[in-house]
């Protein structure tokens, strides 16, 4: 049986203090290696904290920065997904995730959808990612969603159609909308999205949400690993730091797909045609949109 031992760590980063956060990452990496984990996942902006606001330039790191490569070295064969502020060559800053393995940064996924409403102000400080880039790993192609990306239904679908076998969502979701009998809209929306990714795409999904408080907001944790049928493999408590390792049966995906072959029937060409119609005008080329491109 092909298995992935996945470790999740819902920590509370210290805002703007990379040195302290690196130390916490190192500690967790050492723990995950002792647990014989294959992959360790940290929350969104785990190296910096969430409310970086106008201080992005003080905490932005190029993907080849020593901070990241040294963390990668300490991880060795362990795969690590963490959140950081990416300083791009052109001077833009991105809310991004790095995948570290075998001593180097192997992939970077920038956040595609930046929330800019209500309490969120990310577009002011970050540039939007423009490329969804699932990457290959020993346990299959992996797609990363950063927080609000998970609430845009198209993004997980795009990862799936690009061949992702594992969807990893990292987030810094604050508790909000507390109502009667345990209701909390912030949690409900992510639970629905996470379950939908697992059930509709038939893929194992990982959701790692930070804890702690910043600027009056309390992040609710409640990280989860789901199997391709939406069954919970592991769930961390809410509002407190916690970490755990669990096993994902990678063969379960193929078994699920024999019963519900979403990938095969996803029809990206049709979706593209409809998007073409929405974005480009009323007369889409019906068979192949590419034919109109000279």
């Amino acid at each position: 049986m092909r298995r992935l031992n996945i470790a999740i760590d819902q920590m509370a980063p210290r805002l703007g203090d990379i040195a302290t956060n690196v130390a916490a990452h190192r500690k967790s990496i050492a723990w995950a290696r002792r647990q014989k984990a294959d992959l360790l996942v940290f929350p969104e902006l785990s190296l910096t904290g969430y409310m970086v606001m106008g201080m992005v330039s003080h905490v932005g790191l190029a993907p080849d920065d020593l901070v990241l490569t040294e963390l990668a070295r300490s991880a060795g064969p362990l795969g690590v997904i963490l959140g950081f502020v990416e300083r791009a060559d052109d001077g833009r800053f991105y809310n991004a995730a790095a995948f570290l393995k075998d001593g180097a940064v192997r992939a970077v996924q920038r956040k595609m959808f930046l929330p800019n409403y209500g309490m969120f102000d990310e577009k002011r400080f970050f540039a939007e990612g423009d490329r969804l880039a699932p990457f290959d790993t020993p346990w299959g192609r992996t797609g990363i969603l950063i927080c609000y990306d998970a609430l845009q239904p198209a993004v997980a679908y795009l990862h799936e159609q690009a061949g992702a076998q594992l969807i990893v969502t990292i987030s810094a979701s604050p508790a909000r909308g507390i109502g009667p009998e345990g209701a909390m809209t912030g949690r409900e929306i992510f639970r629905i999205a996470h379950l939908a990714h697992s059930r509709l795409l038939g893929l194992p999904t990982v959701f790692v949400n930070r804890v702690g408080t910043e600027e009056g907001s309390t992040f609710w944790g409640g990280s989860q690993v789901l199997d391709p049928q939406g069954e919970t493999l592991c769930e961390l408590p809410e509002y407190e730091p916690a970490r755990e390792v669990c096993e994902i049966d990678l063969e379960a995906t193929a078994r699920t797909h024999t019963r519900f072959p979403h990938l095969k029937e996803g029809r990206p060409d049709f979706i593209l045609q409809e998007l073409w119609r929405l974005c480009m005008g009323p007369h889409p080329p019906l068979s192949s949109p590419w034919s109109t491109i000279p």
Partner: protein, 279 residues
């Protein structure tokens, strides 16, 4: 045509809310390097809830309550404050502000209730922040969401604090939490009052009850109902307008003072720095 009507339900899950607020307080005190808290305890339900939360988060030995009656305050309020302190086991210190206020006005004639009330609130603020400095204790504020929205508080008086765990809860929700936290019924049920002159009540001064205005504020602020939608829900236009006026005219109390923009980066305008930076 069937038109489902959204029920106005201000209930919050008490266990979840109290858990979150304790986590919020613990996290904040740890970040800022404080172990102790101080708060004004009036004998009313808001400060009782604030004190109960502080005791849960920090331990009774790390919470000091200041009872700060003015000349005209009802002695029954102090008795309630003592009851609350005994119930939650924190130390209550009596620090009257009456002499401060009379020395301040020094026999001036014609000082009205509003000036007296503001002076009392600011004298209490001075006491709290002086205690804060002397004992390295953070000042916990206990203005609730209803008061904050209506501007029913004194700027740099009772609105001043380091941290406020209950400012996103309407008065009716505070009563619900109070009951969960074991605040005595007589404290929960007595008419809310700033206790500035005999017989004063918040609801008497405002001209509506907290229950009515909380339902209106919830639909207006939290659910973004329009004026028309609110009148359809049965709220009187005059009542809605009054509340809108109170909210808009008190926005300054919820903001830093306006600073004239001159430079490239201005405090309060475009200096986007989290107050939690480095913690």
């Amino acid at each position: 045509m069937k038109r489902p009507v959204k029920q106005i339900d201000l209930t919050v899950d008490s266990l979840v809310t109290v858990g979150l607020l304790i986590e919020f307080l613990c996290g904040h005190f740890e970040k800022k390097g404080f172990a102790d808290a101080v708060l004004g305890v009036s004998g009313g339900v808001d400060s009782a809830v604030g004190a109960a939360l502080a005791v849960e988060a920090l331990g009774a030995d790390h919470v000091a309550g200041l009872a700060m009656p003015a000349e005209e305050s009802d002695p029954a309020s102090l008795a309630d404050a003592e009851k609350i302190a005994a119930l939650y086991g924190f130390n209550l210190l009596l620090r009257p502000v009456g002499s401060v206020i009379s020395a301040f006005f020094d026999g001036s004639a014609g000082v009205g209730n509003v000036r007296l009330g503001n002076a009392a609130a600011r004298a209490r603020m001075m006491r709290l922040f002086d205690y804060s400095h002397e004992h390295h204790a953070l000042v916990i504020g206990t203005s609730n969401k209803t008061e904050l929205l209506l501007g029913y508080g004194t700027w740099y008086g009772d609105l001043a604090c380091s941290i406020n765990p209950i400012g996103d809860l309407y008065k009716t929700q505070i009563r619900q939490l109070a009951s969960f936290l074991g605040v005595p019924d007589e404290v929960i049920e007595k008419p809310p009052s700033a206790d500035l002159w005999p017989g004063q009540t918040d609801e008497g001064e405002l001209g509506f009850t907290y229950e009515e205005v909380d339902r209106l504020l919830y639909l207006m602020i939290d659910c973004d109902y329009s004026f028309e939608a609110l009148t359809e829900r049965g709220f009187a236009p005059g009542f809605i307008k009054r509340v809108v006026d109170l909210i808009t005219s008190s926005q300054f109390k919820r903001s830093l003072p306006t600073i004239a923009k001159l430079s490239a980066k201005t405090v309060g305008i475009d200096l986007h720095l989290s107050r939690d930076w480095g913690t």
